[in-house]
Amino acid sequence: MKKIIELKNISKAFDGEQVLTNISLDIHDNEFITLLGPSGCGKTTLLRMIGGFENPDEGDILFLGERLNDTPPHKRNINTVFQKYALFPHLNVFENVAFALRERKVPKDEIKEKVTEMLNLVMLGSFANRSVTSLSGGQQQRVAIARALISHPKVLLLDEPLGALDLKLRKDMQQELKKIQQSTGITFVFVTHDQEEALSMSDTIVVLNEGRIQQIGTPADIYNEPQNAFVADFIGESNIIDGIMLENYKVKFSGHTFDCLDKGFAHGEPVDVVVRPEDVDIVPVEKGEIKGTVTQVTFMGVHNEIIVDIGGFKWMIQTTDSVNVGENIGITLEPDAIHIMKKSEYSGMYGDYSSYSNELDELSDPGGDE
């Protein structure tokens, strides 16, 4: 695949505070790439640099192999769908979409043709003469996309474009964005803090935290093979337990030695063990490899989410079995349910559900970069 944008060792500080540290990233032609991370991780700043609204303190941005650092935004073959859309309130839907064409003095007939075609693509054909302030959030979103796509940019940047929509609409727009990306063949660089959104839409996910890239990979890689405790915790739910690698394919944690699929660690090396809540099998207590007591049961619809105390460490397990608080249960783990990570600066910070509550999780859900 052809590289369309290359970021080389980018660093940036605002007022002495380091926002991005040594970021290197290749973005390929026709790729749907997502910058994922919590509020303040630097993902929006990175996007704005590609758009030309910020300059890196150090490092280079290359566009098709040429240095782009000093090119102003209006000369870049890149367009942006802004957070909260930034539609021009003094122009109607048609004129918003036609904005870039009018700047280039495209003939009137051609403008009419192109704008109509673009409005049809985003299913707003009959809205051309409406005022943008009279549109719903979803419709404004479509206008913003049409406006950014009208000049057929090489790259489209999307800054949390679905953040302001309600859940149902967001799901629909995710599908639609993906469809638009595939039909136009334009590279999409998508910024979000919503890991589900990232997993369902992206070809490639870049996980960022504290201005550093934590992991780059396909959604499956990121979910199944997280590189450190931060990624494991941020993407989906994870139990992260201290373990010791006894030898290749043998790991000991919670007082039991398990078979696993990981190798290449030193004998006796301390590691972080990741177990996804849906990969745990519940068995009668006498058949369990390890045993614990249920401390909390939450009905979630398709499954129960239970918290189990195993030797003082609280695990989260998702199961369709019905269990009761106070019950003693046994647990078995298949080798492919266990993922081993090297210890990192994030070890011990995540993956324990002792203070877990659904409500708290929602409250602390980051809400954008601003």
């Binding site: 209006h74 802004f82 280039r104």
Partner: protein
């Protein structure tokens, strides 16, 4: 349930509005009705349109610069002169104020506060004092000529010219131009400017296609707030124009002092109607041009 709540809400809102309604009635509406009443009556308070027709038909002799004398419609000439001076002052205020408002709105929050305060400080001083200050500055032997004299520049004769009147008007009404424009520009969503750049506009394009159209409501209220008081001002022209430029405000004042209340009211009434129509027209045209008729 909803209905009663709404009713209650509108009742409390009505109650809260009451003092303001009384105020507007007493101090705005009643005086306006009196102006109209006086304009259309004679000394014995019998209905007449004579005062109105007098405004349009009264003539007098005007001595031109070349010494020839011609007969002109007195009040039409005075009105056009007022309009000319007010229009020039408004345009100057706009040309000076717009870029300044933009620069202030883009400055740091603290700098913004300081600059806005600096602009407002002269407004705390009495209008008469400010006008007198300009007299001492602009006089033939005044401060300005003393300073320029140091550099060997010949004394400028400004006092008693239209220029002096315009300087006075611009100085007095400048804050009324800059503040409404500034307040709109300060509120402007910066993302819109980025969006315009993203879509291919250079700096001037952003100004022309986004900043200017969005700031138009501020420009219109700025123009209104400068044009209207400067068209009806009467003091500045007397002091800085040495009484040579008789303006419509001076005419009203003169008739009032001469105890000619009915004719004074008629001039005020006509001025008001003309301004109302003009402002309505400006609003309509800009709405058509910029907002596509919405």
């Amino acid at each position: 349930m909803r209905k009663t709540l709404q009713k209650q809400h509108s009742r409390t809102a009505g109650l809260a509005l009451a003092p303001y309604s009384v105020w507007s009635l007493l101090f705005i509406l009643v005086p306006l009705v009196f102006v109209a009443y006086y304009a259309f009556t004679d000394e014995n308070f019998r209905f007449t349109t004579e005062n109105i027709t007098r405004f349009f038909t009264a003539t007098s002799d005007l001595k031109g610069d070349d010494g020839t004398v011609r007969e002109v419609h007195t009040y039409i000439v005075i009105f056009m002169r007022s309009l000319k001076l007010a229009a020039i002052s408004t345009v100057i205020c706009l040309l000076l104020g717009y870029p300044m408002a933009y620069i202030i709105a883009r400055a740091k929050a603290r700098t913004q506060k300081t600059l806005v305060t600096l602009i407002m400080i002269p407004m705390w001083m009495n209008f008469l004092i400010r006008t007198y200050a300009w007299m001492t500055i602009l006089q033939d032997t005044g401060i300005l000529n003393s300073i320029t004299g140091v550099f060997g520049i010949k004394p400028l004769h400004i006092i008693g010219t239209e220029t002096a009147v315009i300087i006075g008007m611009v100085y007095d009404y400048f804050p009324y131009m800059i503040l409404p424009i500034y307040s709109i520009m300060a509120k402007m969503d910066l993302k819109l400017l980025e969006a315009a750049r993203d879509l291919g506009c250079n700096g001037f394009g952003v100004l022309r296609r986004v900043i200017f159209p969005l700031s138009l409501p501020g420009v219109i209220s700025g123009i209104t707030m400068v044009l209207i008081p400067s068209i009806s001002t009467f003091y500045i022209s007397q002091k800085l124009g040495n009484g040579k430029f008789f303006l419509i405000g001076d005419a009203i004042e003169g008739q009032y002092i001469a105890n000619n209340l009915h004719f004074a009211a008629a001039i005020a009434f006509i001025l008001m109607v003309i301004l109302l129509v003009a402002m309505g027209l400006v609003k309509y045209i800009t709405a058509k041009l910029v907002y596509g008729g919405e």
